[in-house]
């Protein structure tokens, strides 16, 4: 993974969610909030996911709808091989950067 393809924190969390299987946008938003205790608005989420898809970290496919959505479709996102490698690189980067530090 090149320097340019280094993940930021938000992308890394999203990929770590997708490692467990494909998710719809709203499910990613909810799990992101549970894991990080930070909100990610839908607009920001879809901007990030679009950028990640353009970088090849995730792929998407259209899904069905539910009565609550009144016919509006869902989109499911899943991690790609490039995404998995980028996440591994990110984890290694964190381990190298902070591994030797005594707890503060």
């Amino acid at each position: 993974v090149s320097k340019k393809k280094m993940l930021n924190n938000r992308e890394a969390v999203i990929l770590s969610i997708l490692v467990n299987g494909e998710r719809a946008g709203r499910d990613i938003r909810n799990e992101y909030r549970t894991r990080t205790e930070h909100q990610i608005p839908l607009g920001s989420l879809y901007t990030t996911l679009t950028r990640m898809e353009a970088s090849g970290f995730v792929t998407s496919k259209n899904g069905g709808t539910t009565p609550e959505r009144r016919g509006y479709p869902r989109k499911f996102f899943s991690i790609t091989g490039v995404g998995e490698r980028a996440l591994k690189t990110y984890q290694e980067f964190l381990a190298n950067a902070f591994g030797g530090i005594k707890s503060v």
């Binding site: 608005p41 839908l42 879809y46 901007t47 609550e68 959505r69 509006y72």
Partner: protein, 154 residues
Amino acid sequence: VSDRGSFKWHFFIWAGLTIIFVWRCDGIRVDLSPLSMIPVIAWIIKDIIIAFSVIGLIDLIIGLFILTCAMIARIDQAEGSAEKCAVALGWWIPRKYRGLVVGDILEDCHELRQGGSGELRIYVHVLWQWAIAVGALLPVAIIGTIWRFVGEPK
């Protein structure tokens, strides 16, 4: 034109536009689709043009306050109106993301209602999510369109 005379004209213009806006709202209770927003946009452009004068700025602030009050007054507190609002506001979200964002907001509305939240709380959620969606996605869509026409920079 004196300040007093100028203010009088501003008053009549924004009062007229507000009435048109509220009248338009009455059709589906809350209608923020582009057509309904035309008087508001016209009114804002008018105020931007005259914003260099102090009276224009005061007019803008008062006008925005009254317009907000008018909107809140027109909000139908009946169950399901927040969803109507979300669908109407969806016009402002780029087509590529519209279905996803509006669908997700509608699911949120359903979940909030199941959790016992009031209509006003749901409205706040809808408006917050919508505002961020427009702020984040509209620039992306505009830039994407520009790149499509002129070619993306290498």
